[in-house]
């Protein structure tokens, strides 16, 4: 249905949305509304209606699947609470068109069979308006067809698989974080620019994440420069990564690229320390939340060598670092954290969740006062590429492309857990060339203050 809408009508709708937007902005300024949630936004003439499943005149119900228990829970279990906290803040600041947002995230234990179950429950029983930030490639793959068949907006999947960017097959599904292939290309580009001619080794998880990263790297570097690519199986991390790192060392890799989950990054750094192997280490954004890593590596040698294991590590960054306390977005997030999320640590996962919730709020505001599900899709397709916020790289949304952030900057970590940007923002898509760009990080809008 959505695809058959004529572009003319879509154009009208955009205009209507923009008009609504400006009305809202105006209303915010003079906020004095009768809405019980303390909010603003309903302009006098149009009343809120139950315009879609999960939307009532006073509320919006969103659903998500997150690993809250089991082996994948560490770290990722913080994202759901961060998204929820952001919405609580939005609700306290007038909600979205006066509606308060309820974010219902259920545990799937990172088991696709459970994901199928909880997502059906959210859609068929709880009648959520949309699924936001469903986490994980194998888990979300199991429900993406169901969501699209039922025309449920499947917004900002929390995974960098390039399989979310298939608007023809899955028109209701949108990626958000940089595609893994894009991350690989950005890292490859940086290596090409700064470590030309050095022998490169890759340690990667043997799934779409590591595999995508490897594809990206290989696109950017000559085959002869990559001396060794070592896959690892995330289910056998019990055995450590000693053998893989020893193999990289034996191959003489001077630059090691990590496409690893944080625990594996820590294990890899541990193995490097054990073997006295000190290559230049470059990692994807997934691999290296500095807060998490600093905690994990601090004991390698009774705390003495610990932090230095991170020192000099290059990694990718497309959102403000959680240590960047002078960044206005981080200041906002810290405020929200202290009010609504104080049980969870301040780290990259928190920034990730809150940023995602922010972009979703933008999408809802753009979808109009009484949006249908299709209105949300149309809003992202037509306006998504123009949104700014905490993200450093532009978003790649259009009717024909459902890519999220199209790149990132390279930062280098220091011993104290901080980071310094060492490159401009590299921007690309899956096939195209890599270009550099200034950061597009936008100001915190007034309705969030």
């Amino acid at each position: 249905m959505g695809e058959s809408r004529s572009s003319l009508r879509r154009g009208f709708r955009v205009i209507a949305v923009l008009a609504a937007f400006s009305l809202v902005a105006a209303a915010c300024g003079s906020s004095s509304s009768s809405s019980s949630s303390g909010g603003s936004s309903t302009s006098g003439s149009v009343a809120n209606t139950a315009s879609a499943p999960g939307i009532t005149p006073t509320s919006i119900l969103l659903g998500s699947h997150q690993p809250l228990t089991g082996p994948a829970a560490p770290g990722y279990s913080e994202i759901g609470p961060a998204i929820e906290a952001f919405f609580q803040y939005v609700n306290a600041h007038g909600g979205i068109y006066g509606r308060s947002v309820t974010f219902k995230y259920l545990d799937d234990g990172y088991n696709p069979a459970n994901t199928v179950q909880v997502v059906r429950k959210l859609v068929l029983q709880d009648n959520v308006y949309a699924i936001l930030g469903g986490l994980g490639t194998p888990t979300h793959t199991a429900v993406v067809d169901f969501l699209n068949q039922n025309k449920v907006p499947d917004i900002f999947v929390a995974s960098g698989c390039n399989c979310w960017n298939e608007p023809k097959v899955h028109p209701y599904t949108y990626g958000w974080q940089p595609d893994y292939i894009i991350e690989g290309k950005v890292l490859g580009a940086y290596i090409k620019d700064h470590f030309a001619g050095m022998k490169v080794g890759v340690l990667y998880q043997n799934d779409d994440f590591g595999g995508g990263g490897l594809i990206g790297i290989k696109q950017m570097l000559p085959a002869s420069q990559i001396v060794s690519a070592q896959p690892y199986d995330p289910t056998t991390l019990t055995n450590g990564l000693g053998t893989q790192v020893a193999a990289l060392q034996a191959a003489g890799a001077q630059v090691v690229v990590l496409f690893t989950i944080p625990a594996a990054t820590a294990l890899a750094l541990l193995s490097m320390a054990v073997l006295g192997y000190h290559p230049t280490t470059v990692s994807s954004s997934v691999s290296s939340d500095p807060t998490t890593l600093a905690g994990l590596v601090s004991n390698f040698s009774k705390g003495k060598v610990g932090a230095s294991a991170l020192n000099g590590l290059y990694t990718l960054n497309y959102l403000p670092m959680s240590s960047a306390t002078s960044d206005p977005w981080m200041q906002l997030f810290l405020k929200i954290h202290s009010q609504y999320d104080s049980k969870e640590p301040v780290d990259g996962n928190m920034v990730y969740g809150m940023s995602m919730a922010y972009y979703f709020t933008l999408a809802m505001r753009a979808a109009g006062q009484n949006p249908t599900r299709q209105d949300l899709i149309n809003a992202i397709n037509s306006q998504g590429a123009t949104w700014t916020g905490p993200g450093l790289a532009p978003l790649g949304y259009s009717a024909t492309q459902h890519l999220g952030f199209m790149g990132s900057e390279v930062v280098q970590l220091n011993a104290s857990g901080g980071a310094t940007a060492v490159s401009p923002v590299y921007v690309t898509n899956v096939q195209g060339p890599v270009t550099t760009h200034a950061s597009v990080e936008g100001p915190v809008p007034s309705w969030l203050q």
Binding site: T69, D233, T238, T243, V274
Partner: protein, 292 residues
């Protein structure tokens, strides 16, 4: 060649931890014929206790001992209050209860300490030792692991071979009814056996945590490889647990190093089937000898 030696050392270091888990499984199996799947959770829980103590500035070795004592008490209490009522029914029931305990304890660890990844101190350096100019994949901490495992095995050997208590424990394990007729308080021996086994599990947890980090499920993988090790060694042989653990660790390290880490799990299955086809009750089982 350097790879070969590193793979070997990595395998030995991993294998010793599997040996400890295997030992915990063997100690319980030979006394109560139960495969204690809850051992992973008990180890993790004990390690969390140590971590909480260390966070409160308790010295490492005090926390280490406290965790072992906690593991002992947890195991003993589990036998006395949870296992005792079901042991007499079918062994399968006891296994399911152990699985229930595993789920329960791991989830409670998540409730109490949260599902975040945290480190656990090793006290000794994890940095590889320098031998002949190159660092090898063996650190002071690995030497500590070796020491602990050897001391523990020797202590158990002395206990079982040379003390009255050990004799009573073995008698209770091999022939509980006969032992009772000889005046041995078998129930206490079983409780003690579970306590010791879970204390061994706690040690395994404490030694594994610096390398696999600490979170509620951190010992699941270790448990499965430890169980594999126990079976390879023979479920009623503590020496078999040591050998089985080393064999498993080294074999997995070579498989991971030379064939790819995605074959480690498959490799564990292949090794198990090959060993069991040759010796259906493990390498060191006394059963097969007795049947002849």
């Amino acid at each position: 060649m350097r790879n070969f030696w590193n793979f070997l050392l990595i395998g030995v270091s991993n294998g010793l931890v599997y040996s400890l888990v295997a030992l915990g499984i063997v100690l319980i199996y030979r006394s109560t014929r139960v495969i204690n799947f809850a051992l992973a959770a008990m180890a993790t829980f004990s390690t969390f206790i140590a971590a909480s103590l260390i966070d409160r500035n308790v010295p490492y070795f005090v926390a280490f001992l406290a965790a072992i004592v906690f593991g002992f008490l947890l195991g003993a209490a589990t036998e006395r209050f949870v296992m005792r009522p079901v042991e007499s029914k079918s062994p399968l029931n006891a296994v399911i209860v152990a699985i229930g305990m595993l789920i329960f304890l791991e989830a409670m660890a998540g409730v109490i300490w949260g599902a975040k990844l945290r480190n656990f101190p090793s006290h000794f350096s994890l940095i590889g030792l320098k031998i002949g100019g190159a660092r090898l994949a063996i650190s002071n901490f690995d030497l500590f692991i070796v020491t602990v495992v050897v001391v523990l095995l020797l202590a158990l050997l002395v206990l079982f071979r040379y003390t009255k208590l050990g004799l009573m424990m073995r008698a209770s394990a091999f022939a509980p009814e006969v032992a009772r007729l000889l005046g041995v308080r078998v129930g206490r021996m079983l409780t003690l056996g579970w306590g010791l086994a879970c204390a061994a599990g706690a040690v395994a947890g404490l030694l594994a945590a610096p390398k696999v980090f600490l979170f509620p499920n951190n010992m699941d993988g270790v448990l499965i490889f430890g169980f594999t090790a126990a079976i390879i060694g023979g479920l009623d042989s503590p020496v078999g647990a040591l050998v089985g653990g080393l064999l498993t660790g080294v074999a997995l390290s070579f498989i991971g190093g030379y064939l790819g880490s995605d074959l480690e799990n498959v490799g564990a299955f292949v090794i198990l089937v090959v060993v069991l086809m040759a010796r259906p009750e493990g390498i060191f089982s006394s059963m097969s000898a007795r049947r002849v």
